[in-house]
Amino acid sequence: MSGEVIRLDHAVRTRSSGGRIRQPPETVSPAGEMPNGRPTRPGISTPLPDPERVDGHRGESGPEPDEWDRRVANLLGFVRRRLTGEYPVDEFGFDTDLTDTTLLPLLRLLYQRWFRVEVSGIENVPTKGSALLVANHSGTVALDALMLSVAVHDEHPTQRHLRLLGADFVFSTPLLADLARKAGATLACNPDAERLLRSGELVGVFPEGFKGVGKPFSERYKLQRFGRGGFVSAALRSGAPIIPVSIVGAEETYPLIGNIKPLARLFGLPYFPVTPLFPWFGPLGLVPLPSKWLIEFGAPIHTTELDASPDDPMTVFNLADQVRESIQQTLYQVLLRREGVFG
């Protein structure tokens, strides 16, 4: 649980970037607030706080830091920031405060309890500076992207945020568009990918796109074509290393056994999934199967060391193929390692 505490602290310290401090924080700032709220610069992750300094209310119930009190204070502080709009948002719409306080804790339940995700190779993700995480996409609903974000944040020693690149569809769907931006995602396009990478962020991309996430269950763990390889040129241009990521377990969450195309067309969806539980069981069909997940971060491919030009299509295709092959091989190995689909 101690990890949880640090995360809450992290959220509390993130203060308004606007420099509008209406009162001297020392006198008015309620409990749980940093006395010297350091302004956060957009696009740059906040440095991690040390957990000791936040609980300003020890002593009221003995020498032990009052965990419960601090949580109440943090919650109230969060609600106040929401009500007054005093929280920073970066240019992409990433709301660290909301992500750390609400979105990640919710996803963490799914991550820890439901899918029991196990991670290997997290040391391949750099502690600072940019990297492009390229992963396989599967599972009808893009849960793998969300779980990958939790994995990077929770397992990484410096708790970095993963900035996902999402399809057009995500950003033209009400509610989803809103949440995606607040969680740090942005549109999968080269300007955005390069901008994020240049500002030293970890960027997550699923080059298979809908071809991967919406493929039938019979083709599970078979990587689909990798789009146009735009991710490779983004990495080459910004000099960011590419880290192949293999995700096992997402395929079994919603086994896609059919696709009702007329309905998909009607709702403007990329596909209308039929799974063993959906749509037959109604809302129950929305519950993902509790498959066992394994995520492996592969060795980084350092693009700066390659003698490759981002404008040479052949190089780009070859590098994309190399990444794809690496993920595919790792998928097979990890599958062998998994004891059972639900084990």
Binding site: S16, S17, G18, G19, R20, R22, Q23, V28, P30, A31, P42, H57, E60, S61, W68, D69, V72, A73, L76, G77, V79, R80, R82, L83, T84, G85, E86, Y87, V89, D90, E91, F92, G93, D95, D168, F171, S172, T173, P174, L175, L176, A177, D178, R181, K182, T186, L187, C189, P191, D192, R195
Partner: protein, 377 residues
């Protein structure tokens, strides 16, 4: 590199009957290096604009006093329609060396839309045609808008000056802006000796600004698009004028985004203004906008609605680099607007902080009582 243009200047400013145009004219007139300001508009300025043009404050710099003329003495208002070829006579006859084109404007009121389009597009064409025949002309500064980028879900997170919109923006004003910029590009090809600066401004905000957006944020209950929380950027009126002034006083050729760094989410902005957001289905929003328009409450155009749904953020790196000037951040700009408008409500930050403290104290006391009770037992 920015370099000062030597000699005294004669500047023509269009669109001065609007607040911003009047501000720009007054600001230029206060510059000691400016000899004359010809302020042009179809209607005579009234109210605030007139006050700015004709009752300019005491000359601030000693240089102006030495010149022997106060700022308002330098301003000459000319009632002229830039759609009329007569404007050419003014430009050539007065040996204008700088034209500041501020007349491209929004008008959402449906009835006025055609007239506005005429003024925006045909007016610009005529003005540029006149400029082309003016031998003394050395500089053209055009007030454009980030509306040129449109606003859609498929756009990159930030627009740079060379981002082409994925699709032609919806809505009259945005289309006008795109067309106007096209004509300006054509002009600068034909008159390469005239330095052309196009400034794409983010929506203006300031303590005294009065636009559709400021009225929107002043509504007690603010309708927002359900399921969207657009990222917004603003430019402070003072900063906008500073950039405009610098593009006249110094040489900064090219196209520049002018906005305050950073973003505010719509919901965040509404909270900071102490208002209550009410999410409305996107379809309902255009209906509401229609009501607002017909009742004369707020004039919202379609491109402004798109902005309210998808937001718009621009990269200002080249502005900062070229002008050596950093407009104040969007958040500060917005807060200044809120202070200037004196928007206060029940949900003021002070009240929220007080409530938070109260709740926290109550909970602490309750828990303390519980723990004492536990020990006694």
């Amino acid at each position: 590199m920015p370099s000062k243009v030597a000699g005294f200047r004669t500047v023509l400013v269009t669109g001065v009957s609007r607040y911003l145009g009047a501000l720009a004219a007054a600001r230029l007139a206060a510059d000691p290096e400016v000899e004359r300001v010809l302020a042009v508009d179809t209607t005579p300025p009234q109210g605030e604009a007139a006050a700015l043009l004709f009752q300019a404050p005491e000359p601030r710099t000693t240089a102006t006093r030495q010149a022997g003329r106060t700022a308002e003495q330098k301003i000459e208002f000319i009632r002229a329609d830039i759609q009329n070829p007569l404007i050419a006579k003014v430009i050539v006859g007065s040996e204008i060396d700088t034209v500041v084109h501020m007349a491209v404007q929004v008008s959402a009121a449906r009835s006025a839309r055609r007239a506005t389009k005429e003024l925006n597009v045909i007016g610009t064409m005529q003005l540029l045609a006149a400029c082309q025949k003016a031998p003394a002309l050395r500089k053209l500064v055009v007030k454009s808008s980030v509306a040129a980028y449109g606003a859609s879900a498929r756009d990159p997170a930030m627009f740079t000056e060379d981002t082409a919109p994925r699709e032609m923006p919806r809505g009259g004003y945005a289309k006008d802006v795109v067309e106007v910029e096209g004509y300006v590009r054509g002009f600068s090809r034909r008159r390469p000796d005239v330095g052309t600066t196009v400034l794409r401004f983010a929506p203006f905000l300031g303590p005294r600004a009065d636009t559709a957006l400021t009225r929107y944020f002043s509504l007690p209950v603010v309708p927002t698009p359900l399921g969207y929380d657009p990222r917004m950027q603003f430019i402070h009126t003072d900063d906008g004028l500073e950039v405009l002034h610098r593009s006249v006083a110094e040489d900064h050729l090219g196209v520049y985004n002018v906005a305050g760094e950073g973003v505010l989410l719509l919901s965040q902005a509404i909270r900071r203004a102490g208002r209550v957001p009410v999410p409305v289905l996107e379809l309902g929003l255009s209906t509401l906008a229609g009501f607002a328009r017909r009742s004369g409450l707020i004039d919202f155009s379609i491109d402004q609605l798109d902005f309210l749904v998808h937001g718009r953020v621009v990269d200002t790196a080249s502005l900062v680099k070229e002008f050596g000037y950093r407009p104040r951040p969007t958040v500060e700009t917005f807060d200044d607007f809120v202070r200037g408008r004196d928007l206060t409500s029940v949900i003021s930050p002070d009240n929220v902080v007080a409530l938070e403290r109260l709740l926290l104290d109550q909970i602490r006391q309750a828990r303390q009582r519980m723990s004492w009770a536990g020990e006694e037992r």
